[in-house]
């Protein structure tokens, strides 16, 4: 569906025969399906790194998909990626803020245990499926686990810049759009993130 700047333009589009409109919507849906299929797994892993919880990560990704489809599907497809990650990062920040408030309340409530986010994870969850042999899988899993721990130690903006630039492959301009800041800030956050990660993980990693 194209974007309408004026009511007349919209009416002109509305007046085209129904099959033409149907084809346009079908093309747009197909393109959106392709885009979401490309980004969904990486987006999930990035959300999981930030939130630690797979269910929360799935919720945030699902919410970002719905918001993109409802509000921005009519935008040019080139704009979808930064928009999607901006929605995702906002969702992650909102959830982290809610968790912080919840933790503060739990301190004051008697008889309430620590947040379940800190529960020990089942080691089997980290074992990957596939045809690779067990030692290699274990090595991969350990490497990612170390990287995740190091990423969680970073300030949120540095982590966002690193994941969007390095994991998702966004350029500086799109990363700036996704983070809602200037390109200069993106470069600064990214550079500091790389320094911090290298220091923490060392050359051996």
């Amino acid at each position: 569906m194209p974007a309408f700047d004026t009511l007349t333009q919209a009416w002109t589009v509305w007046d085209v025969p129904a099959p033409a409109r149907g084809v346009a919507v079908l093309d747009e849906t197909r393109e959106l399906n392709k885009f979401l299929g490309e980004v969904e797994r990486r987006a999930f892993r990035m959300a999981q790194v930030a939130l630690r919880d797979p269910d929360d990560a799935l919720d945030v990704v699902q919410d970002a998909m719905l918001k993109l489809a409802r509000n921005y599907a009519s935008k040019p497809s080139a704009e979808w990626r930064p928009l999607f990650y901006r929605i995702l990062e906002n969702g992650i920040r909102d959830l982290q803020r809610r968790r912080t408030v919840r933790k503060k309340w739990m301190v004051w409530l008697p008889g309430v245990k620590e947040d379940p986010d800190n529960e020990a994870q089942d080691p089997l969850d980290n074992v990957a499926s596939g045809s690779a042999d067990a030692p290699e899988l274990l090595m991969r899993s350990e490497a990612m686990e170390k990287l995740e721990v190091a990423l969680r130690e970073l300030p949120a903006r540095q982590r966002e810049a690193f994941m969007l630039r390095n994991f998702e492959g966004l350029d500086v301009a799109d990363t700036a759009k996704a983070m809602g800041c200037s390109e200069g800030s993106v470069k600064t956050h990214y550079s500091r993130a790389v320094h911090a990660l290298r220091e923490q993980l060392g050359e051996v990693w």
């Binding site: 309408f4 009511l7 919209a10 009416w11 509305w14 919507v25 747009e28 849906t29 959106l32 399906n33 979401l36 299929g37 969904e40 797994r41 990486r42 999930f44 892993r45 797979p54 799935l58 990704v61 699902q62 998909m65 719905l66 993109l68 489809a69 409802r70 599907a73 969850d125 990957a128 499926s129 596939g130 899988l137 991969r140 899993s141 490497a143 990612m144 990287l147 390095n166 994991f167 500086v172 200069g184 800030s185 470069k187 600064t188 990214y190 550079s191 500091r192 790389v194 320094h195 990660l197 290298r198 993980l201 050359e203 990693w205």
Partner: protein, 144 residues
Amino acid sequence: MKEIAEESNPSAGAFETHSREVFSRSVESLDMRVISRLNHARQAALEAAVQRRPWFLQVRVWTPAAGVTAAAVLGVALWMGAAAGHHPPAVADNAATLEDLDIFASSDEGSGDALEMLQNDIDFYDFADTAANAVPVANSGPAA
């Protein structure tokens, strides 16, 4: 915030490449439960995209319903007005005027059409008007 240039040295580049590879492998090894849930989420989003439509495109959907409703309301109002014996006052006030016009325009006057009669007598009324306004000649003689 002071801007710092992005990493460009080879070891930093190797670190970035390695971390990207590690992340990509972890994405490839996601379990089927997560992949399935992501797929469901994508289908729900696509459905939402298809169902979304701007408000001005929804007008046509509601127009027939609004038309039927308006007609029904008008019908009920007229029916209730007739049942109560109520007529619009404007029609009642003008009833006598309409009756007069009807008599005036009717051709049942015996001597012919009233309008035609009025047209024929215009010359007489014109003469009478001139005569009434004329100065009497007999009384206007020079004074002795």
